[in-house]
Subunit: 237 residues, 2 copies
């Protein structure tokens, strides 16, 4: 995740994106590819804790490493919790969580807060716990939050807000901290553009956010300044 | 998985499906929905072993259950192996496994064989270990094999074959065993039809197989007789 080869976007940039009226160059991705890219990302995320659990078990069963038993159990425990966190996040952020049609602020804060325990940035979830989010809005909010957290590789604070008005719902993610930035691939993804030379793993999640907003008939904007990013999603009411 | 409420397809049925020329009623699924349904299925598959690992750890740490330590470790170990198996399968069957462009018969037999250890049916992978499969063919073969295995809820034998000819590649899955059947949802999925009244979890994987074949410009057929199913995929050369 922490590839520092992409330059910071430290020139002020203000980009308005209207996913409902895409530019000619916007990606027309076929359904199959969007799904395979997303599943590829999930498998990549899941294999690391799954492998760590296996390593922990191997260590536990190694007669010559009996002094490492507690470390092995700690590794297994931390990895299993990470796995559950990733699955719970993925269900709502990427999947059709079919058991719920709406999510409360409190539910989304728990799901996202657990994800932030795996990242360096701090989460400030400045949204009322009883505010209700329909599925597309819940999905957009979790993806906004994840992107804000991932844009703070050395730490900082990601603040999420939500405001319901006559013209719909506005969600914002404010990421403030040293080296806060969106990688080139992430910007391509957020604009609905195809992946250029970069890494698919950096592109697909921002692209998924774009796709979620696009699907819901909303708009997506971001501003990038030195050590400070603001992402704004507007969804129709 | 073992919902027996759907009647067996015990009347002979022979259905030819040409995904390249779909009927008017064939589902036009938007990219977003295909991805969310597929991710939803994966999360459903993953959460069970992840939860079992957590349960095993809880048992391990329970001072009143010290006589259950070995059972707890066995549960953790079996669940972690299942998790790794599911992820490895998903990477190739559902995801963009970007590290490999082609897979050998031996590689695919290993991935599918591991999945069959979680099912009742036996796998007969009657394909040369050195035969090479490009990504779409590998994906179709794994999905064919999984569907054949899932169509044998009380056990039986799933035989996979592959034959390369001048006009392309023919893959077959032969599922023979008591109660061998495709559920109504699975048939809808295989025909590229939208899900009717049934369970999404029974529909999405067959639909994904249809989508994979459709995407590759191939055709998909199946015959269903008492205790015997044959699925055939033809992919262009």
């Amino acid at each position: 995740m922490d590839d520092l080869s992409t330059p910071n976007l430290n020139n002020a940039e203000n980009t308005a994106i209207d996913p409902a009226a895409p530019e000619a160059s916007v990606l027309e991705m076929n359904p199959h590819d969007l799904a395979t890219q997303l599943v590829g990302k999930l498998c990549h995320d899941f294999i690391s804790p799954a492998g760590a659990i296996i390593s922990g078990l191997d260590l536990l069963e190694d007669p010559s490493a009996q002094d490492m038993r507690q470390e092995a159990l700690n590794l297994i425990s931390a990895s299993a919790k990470k796995m559950v966190t990733l699955v719970h996040f993925a269900r709502v952020a990427f999947g059709a969580a079919s058991t719920s049609e709406a999510f409360s602020g409190a539910q989304l804060e728990k799901i996202l807060g657990d994800m932030f325990t795996t990242m360096r940035a701090e989460l400030d979830f400045a949204i009322p716990s009883d505010m209700l989010f329909q599925k597309p809005a819940a999905r957009a909010l979790l993806n906004l939050g994840l992107l804000a957290g991932n844009s703070l590789p050395t730490g900082g604070k990601a603040t999420l807000t939500a405001m319901a008005g006559d013209d719909g719902l506005t969600l914002t993610a404010d990421a403030a901290g040293p080296r806060a930035r969106l990688k080139a691939e992430a910007i391509e993804g957020l604009k609905g553009l195809p992946l250029g030379d970069g890494l698919n793993g950096q592109w697909i999640q921002p692209h998924w956010l774009w796709s979620t907003v696009h699907e819901a008939g909303g708009t997506l904007d971001f501003t990038a300044e030195t050590d400070h990013l603001v992402l704004t999603v507007k969804l129709p009411g």
